[in-house]
Amino acid sequence: MAVASLPHGSSAGHDGVDQLYADTRALRLQGMLLFLVSDCILFSSFIFAYLYMRNSGQGWPPAGISRLDVAFASVNSVVLFGSGATMHYALENWKHNNFGRYALFMLATIVLGIGFLSGQAYEYTNLIFKEHVTWAGSGIFGASFFTLTGMHGFHVSVGVLYLIILFLQSVHGVYTKDKYFGLTAGTLYWHFVDVIWVVLFSIFYLI
């Protein structure tokens, strides 16, 4: 595979822009982490509400609703977790000045993210049209399942758009070998949606 090198901007010198970047990088990182913590609190609130309602009912799933398809969800989970691994290697290759492999891993991450969303759409279609489980018409089960997985799916959709924008920016030379905080933030966000899915997959499909 042909290996191209990264675009280099004015990173070598200590001009005003680079100094500004160095001064604000830690603040930007803290801002991104605080955003992820706030998102974590949002998901935690819904997860605890779901677990509370689930445990206060009589049996789970409620009568008339069958268990979710674990086999298909396992495959979809592996697709999302795989995208976390490819995203990690995309950033690593960027750090090591290997644009060709960065592009390959970044595109693989985007494709796997879209694959996960397609899998979720397929699962929603099956649930709604075959099992007749809906958000409003299936009690706590439908409401909590579609709210939490829908919220997560929305995050993944935003993440895919975010990664596409990051990729286009990196192609157009917005980031350099030394200045790539956007890619770091994108990787953090993508890992976050992966980790949230570990919890959602466990509580909806495995317990």
Binding site: L33, S74, S77, V78, A85, H88, T184, L188, F192, L206
Partner: protein, 71 residues
């Protein structure tokens, strides 16, 4: 030859889960000594990714989430 879709899905989940677990464990090992706040968070995320991949593989193998059919 007819292959049960569930068997195919479970096979993919097991193999994929093991591959992702190995890759994330290797990435975690490679990054273990990297300094910086962002790298500490990455390590935490990679650890959780490893656990998630193992959980998905175990679910594919019917070890987790194996519930009896409703009557």
């Amino acid at each position: 030859m007819h292959i049960d879709p569930a068997v195919l899905e479970r096979t993919i989940a097991i193999i994929g889960g093991i591959i992702v677990a190995i890759v994330s464990a290797k990435a975690l090992k490679d990054d273990w000594n990297t300094p910086g706040l962002d790298n500490q968070v990455f390590k935490l995320m990679l650890g959780l990714l490893f656990i998630g991949a193992i959980v998905a593989a175990l679910a594919g193998a019917n070890v987790l989430g194996n519930f009896p059919k409703a009557a």
